[in-house]
């Protein structure tokens, strides 16, 4: 009896030891994993971190080392960068970007939703051919259409205006977004729309009151993509905008490189930080919906 008791204690003790060993091993393994993740993450983010750090450095300090912490932090880059070498402040360029982005994003959301709704839910003549051409446009390299587009907009008298930069997108010109929304719509059950029709809603009311709220995650992704891509678009404004007072931020950044002989890197970096800030803020604010939107688009219907 006593033996059994002792044995039981020994077994308990060895169990406890094994549990402790396992716990210690789990801790070590977690530490290694997180350290590795942190190191790789840091490595990938380093350019961004360096950019932010360097924007507070003096010009001479920027190239003196690879560290990101400024020795004597200064706002000089921001203050002088904001003034720019032109008669306009950087605020003007932000405003210009805003004037392109706002109609473009709103127009894209509305027009792509309507186009996608039509493709996903209605039967009309030549639907397959038309949808095929949407996909074909998706596969077409942008550069192919640059010259015909330029000639078209020139003939319309739209050069040196914001119109060529947002009107095509506001007319569902971005095949990628139409395709993305069509895929998302296909994964949504039709019952709700049918219920709305029985309830007396017409197609437009069904779209606005029933489909759009269900489409929200995908629409947020569309708006985010459009916002970020427009903010980053360099070639479009470069081709169509010639007056400095109409430059968006992407061109304005390049402007500060062009016009000075010795580049004021801290100003460029400071303005770069300001330029990416809106995109970062919007992305993190809408991150949850954004991920929901792009992942749900791939769900099978």
């Amino acid at each position: 009896m006593a033996d059994v008791h002792l044995n039981k204690e020994a077994v308990d003790a060895s169990d406890e030891m094994a549990a402790m060993r396992r716990a210690r091993w789990d801790l070590i393994s977690a530490t290694i994993r997180y350290a590795l993740l942190f190191a790789v993450g840091f490595l990938m983010l380093y350019p961004l971190i360096w950019l932010v750090g360097a924007s507070f450095k003096t010009n001479s300090e920027i190239f003196s080392g690879a560290g990101f912490l400024p020795e004597s932090p200064t706002l000089d880059g921001y203050v002088k960068g904001w003034q720019t070498s032109t008669p306009y402040t950087f605020g003007r360029f932000f405003w210009n970007s805003f004037l392109i982005i706002l109609p473009k994003v709103i127009g894209t959301a509305i027009s792509c939703t309507m186009a996608a709704y039509a493709f996903a839910r209605f039967d009309f003549p030549f639907k397959k051919v038309l949808f095929g051409s949407v996909i074909a446009v998706l596969l077409l390299p942008n550069v192919v259409t640059r010259i015909p587009q330029y000639i078209l907009f020139r003939d319309l008298g739209w050069l040196d205006t914001f119109l060529p930069l947002w009107v095509p997108s506001a007319l569902a010109g971005d095949a990628f977004f139409v395709f993305m929304l069509v895929q998302f719509l296909r994964s949504l059950p039709r019952d709700m729309e049918e219920a709305a029709r029985v309830d007396g809603a017409n197609s437009l009311q069904t779209l606005v009151f029933i489909v759009v709220p269900m489409l929200a995650p995908a629409l947020i992704s569309v708006c985010l993509f459009q916002f970020m891509w427009t903010m980053n678009d360099f070639l479009g404004p470069l081709i169509y905008i010639s007056s400095v007072d109409k430059y968006p931020v992407s061109l304005a950044l390049k402007l500060s490189i062009d016009t000075t002989e010795a580049f004021e890197w801290n100003r460029i970096l400071a303005m770069s930080v300001l330029t990416i800030t809106p995109a970062l803020v919007v992305f993190f604010a809408a991150q949850r919906y954004f991920i929901e939107g792009i992942s749900a688009g791939g769900r099978k219907g």
Binding site: A195, R197, A201
Partner: protein
Amino acid sequence: MARVQLRNLEKIYGGTLKAVHGINLDIRDGEFMVLVGPSGCAKSTTLRMIAGLEEISGGEIIIGDRRVNDLPPAKRSIAMVFQNYALYPHMKVRGNLAFGLRITGRPRAEIDAAIEQVARILEIEPLLDRLPKQLSGGQAQRVALGRALIKKPGVFLFDEPLSNLDAKLRASMRVRITDLHRELKAEGLSSTVVYVTHDQTEAMTMGDRICVMESGRIMQVATPKELYNNPANLFVAGFIGMPEMNLMDGAMEGGDFVVGSQRLPMGGDLAGRLSVRPQQVVLGIRPQHLSLADGGPALKARLTNAEFMGHEVYLHADCEGHRLVSVVGAPEFEDIGRREFIHLRPSFDSLHIFDRSDGRNVSLRGGSLAA
């Protein structure tokens, strides 16, 4: 008036695939009509055509005294309850109920009063400020019902509304829906119901009349009792009834039914009921009408299995290569005990004889046929 008439109604997909073959059906005002049939029999398609969600390829649909072929769903005076409820996920229950009235521009006070009334009837008052995802299946079902009820339509269309619920809830919702139908009728409100289901229990317990469909054709329209007692053809005979009716291929020879080496003299009123006397027939016996016998005219069968169901036992037997099922009382089975061969005697008054060439029931009482 909310009588629904289908006249030569057709549905053809892609120009060639005929899903509904020119069906005719007259659903009376205030009637609870159940469309029942196996998957793919076009019962849902028919319902969706009545609703206006599916285009009509041919024929006519008349609701009340209006031909509604070209009217949109909203103008047909119908309300529909969908299989998976189809509640608007972003609207609260209140919004779901109100949507149909709001979209047609009813005044706010009227909408609020209607919501209150419907919520009271369906006992969903505490749920009004919840989102659909916060509801259980049964609650969502009641809200879907409320959304139909609030419109005060002429015709209610139900598309397998209980199939997503568990068995217990289904049974209680069944009673609730029939109660509701009766109450509406008692209040003099228009309450024609067209109810689609594949579940024959629902069909038998809920319908005033049942329309049995198969491959886009109507097989029989009759009251549940009539359908059970007088199936017009082999399909209805096999579809309605639990367990399924026993069907045996055989021949009629001089008033006897001959199957394999066995000969069963036809007794009761059967001989008088036969409208024609085909040679090759199918004998139909409901398991409930097949009892254990010690002698006399009976079918000898080899007992293969006995399922104990509580107060009764399902006996599975093999008779001349045909599988027979007989439902007998548990004590009766215990008396007889387990043995290899049993004798099963049909109740001759409840026998059915089908013409094997076209499946028609030639032994109908009073010559009753599909309406």
